[in-house]
């Protein structure tokens, strides 16, 4: 999103003492969770993976919350205002199938093999070169994204409340640092669950007041001028692909398959939440439980966006093609808060926005420190030290990550912001699709060789970068003309295909690992009972069956498509 625009428009909220009081209460609770979680940290696994002890509803909500960052919230309400109902694809086809797939198909290997991170799975399956590529790119990405989050937070707080940028950057970073250094992943996850409820508490009243103001769903249907925006298909505006048929194909394969499977199944910041669950059953259920709120939450994210385009004067102008008074679609959420919420609930909404920024940073930091400690420090720098040593490294890595994130935020501020952010975010999206190709091939094809692992990964990543460079208008070599999301769908799709082809070709001429080293990592070499989950004790009951829950959320999504598609 382009944050620079936010500062220009008049978004200043009329926050009063009561709003600040509600915000302060939240900060106190967040820090309190850090202090209390500190008491249950006695090993590096406790600190970096919550000792694999959390119940499924906690990890499931954290799973969805780690993705529900403020940039996502503001970006998706903006998409709602700009593209209408087509935005639901990001929540439904672009997330639910991948989350169910992660739970049912991939989690048995991630959780069953007892690896402590996604890069560690890479090392056990493909050896060191692929591991290093994955671990370093992930660690660097997390620190930079944490910095971008901090910078974006500061810009928005400046616009809404008038706090100077450096103050917001440092205060937010110090709060995150305090609770994650004290309580580790447990504190981060507990706060993510809390954040989930605060965001719902902020957005639900906004949606309800907005709906009353516009005259209910009926009012929306009557007032929206472009009726195509009320149906999700074929989403030609969103994809930038003019042909309806190709637009649907792009959505289903580009967004629904490659992009979303790449993101949800290999991004360690997400998968880590499931790895911290207390049993195989809870780990499988984690992304599936998260899928239910993911399917339903567009109701309080996209609908406010659509409403804003009808009732916020600046938005209506923008939508009609005028300049819109220096406002941008990304300002939808702040503008709605300004226009609809009185003091009191306004404080909750500000808290929700701040909370989601901080939880985003915490998710980046808590996954960074695990990869840094286990995958970089323990594997390549200092092996075989006692566990207390790695616990200390984990804490220091957390401090280091926060300092680097603050540095990144200040550099982004000095360079003027928004374009750099867009480039960095695009850069890291290049890694996901090829990673998914390598993982899925490696999990189901035991012959695939270690060399194929890293060569395929690099080939796929370079393909994605190549498509980006030739389609991004600001680089001036626009060989491909695809506005909207079309270019990223195409880039990800090709990256996936190239990765598969190169991996297969390289496998044919290199030597595979012996079967004995692949037990637990590859489908055909993992005994069925190692992939199964227990169905007794806290995992008992038909309503805790991962397959049933997964089928349920797929059915729910299908029904939602029939009603709102």
């Amino acid at each position: 999103m382009s944050v620079s625009v936010v500062a220009e428009a008049d978004l200043r909220l009329d926050a009063g003492p009561i709003d600040y009081a509600l915000l302060v209460i939240y900060f106190v609770v967040v820090l309190g969770i850090g202090v209390m979680a500190r008491r249950s940290v006695s090993s590096s696994l406790d600190f970096l993976l919550s000792g694999r002890s959390l119940p499924a509803w906690v990890t499931g909500l954290a799973f969805i919350s780690a993705n529900l960052g403020a940039l996502e919230l503001m970006g998706m309400t903006a998409n709602g205002a700009q593209y209408g109902m087509a935005t639901v694809h990001y929540y439904w086809i672009g997330a639910i199938p991948a989350m169910v797939f992660l739970g049912l198909v991939m989690m048995p290997f991630y959780y069953g093999s007892k690896v402590r991170s996604v890069p560690e799975f890479m090392r056990r399956r493909f050896g060191k070169p692929a591991h290093l590529v994955n671990a370093i790119s992930f660690a660097v990405a997390q620190v930079l994204i944490a910095g971008i989050n901090l910078f974006a937070l500061a810009v928005i707080i400046d616009a809404l409340l008038g706090w100077p940028l450096p103050v917001s950057i440092v205060v937010a970073a110090v709060v995150v640092l305090a609770y994650t250094t004290l309580g580790g992943l447990s504190a981060a996850i507990y706060n993510e669950v809390l954040q989930f409820f605060v965001i719902v508490a902020a957005l639900a009243p906004l949606t309800i007041v907005g709906l009353i103001k516009v005259g209910g769903w009926q009012g929306i249907v009557e007032k929206v001028t472009d009726q195509e925006q009320l149906s999700a298909w074929p989403a030609t505006e969103l994809t930038g692909i003019n042909s309806p048929v190709w637009s649907v194909i792009g959505l289903v394969f580009g967004l629904g398959f490659v992009l979303s499977f790449g993101y949800w199944t290999t991004n360690f910041a997400e998968v880590q939440r499931a790895m911290s669950a207390k049993s195989m059953s809870a780990a499988k259920r984690t992304p599936i439980i998260g899928a239910y709120p993911k399917a339903l939450i567009p109701a309080i994210i996209i609908i406010p966006g659509i409403i804003a385009a009808l009732i916020v004067p600046e938005m209506a102008q923008l939508k009609a093609g005028a300049a819109g008074d220096g406002v941008d679609y990304n300002d939808v959420l702040p503008l709605l808060m300004r226009d609809l919420l009185p003091n009191g609930i306004l404080g909750i909404a500000i808290t929700g926005l701040l909370a989601s920024f901080m939880a985003g940073v915490a998710a980046n930091v808590s996954s960074f420190n695990t990869v840094f400690t286990y995958d970089l420090w323990q594997d390549y720098v200092k092996k075989d030290r006692p566990d207390e040593y790695y616990l200390r490294v984990g804490r220091l890595a957390t401090v280091g990550a926060c300092v680097l994130a603050i540095g990144t935020a200040f550099i982004a501020a000095a360079l003027g912001g928004s374009n750099i952010m867009d480039y960095i975010q695009a850069l890291f999206s290049f890694f996901n699709a090829p990673l998914f190709a390598t993982f899925i091939l490696g999990m189901f094809w035991k012959r695939m060789t270690p060399t194929a692992g890293w060569v395929g990964l690099l080939a796929g990543t370079f393909t994605a970068i190549f498509i980006y460079v030739i389609s991004e208008p600001s680089f001036g070599i626009e060989l491909l003309e695809l506005p909207g999301q079309g270019a990223s769908f195409l880039g990800a799709g090709l990256a996936f295909v190239v990765d598969i082809l190169v991996s297969v070709a390289v496998t044919m001429v290199t030597r595979p690992k012996p079967d004995s080293e692949l037990v637990g990592l590859v489908y055909s070499l993992t005994p069925k009972e190692d992939r199964a989950h227990s169905t007794t004790g806290e995992d008992a009951g038909w309503y805790r069956s991962p397959a049933l829950l997964g089928g349920g959320v797929l059915a729910l999504t299908t029904v939602l498509y029939f009603i709102f598609g």
Partner: protein, 78 residues
């Protein structure tokens, strides 16, 4: 490793938020606040909903307390 019960924290935070918003909604709502929210006393209703959420989590925590898993390693106290 045994953590404190998150359900009680959720109940505490939303209980507090609920009470504050109900008080603001009943006692400190101006006509302008009402106009802003289309005549709905949104503070009051949101407060009631949050208090209800708090009650649900508190009840859940009371009815199904966290139990100590004896199969796993014993707690380590620091």
């Amino acid at each position: 490793m045994r953590l404190f019960d998150l359900r009680l924290i959720i109940a505490f935070l939303f209980g507090l938020y609920g009470v504050v918003l109900v008080v603001v909604g009943l006692g400190f709502t101006s006509d302008e606040d009402l106009r802003k929210a289309e005549g709905v006393n949104i503070n009051l209703w949101a407060g009631v909903a949050m208090a209800a959420l708090a009650a649900v989590f508190a009840a859940w925590a009371m009815l199904r307390p966290q139990f100590v898993d004896t199969d796993k390693q014993p707690l380590k106290e620091l």
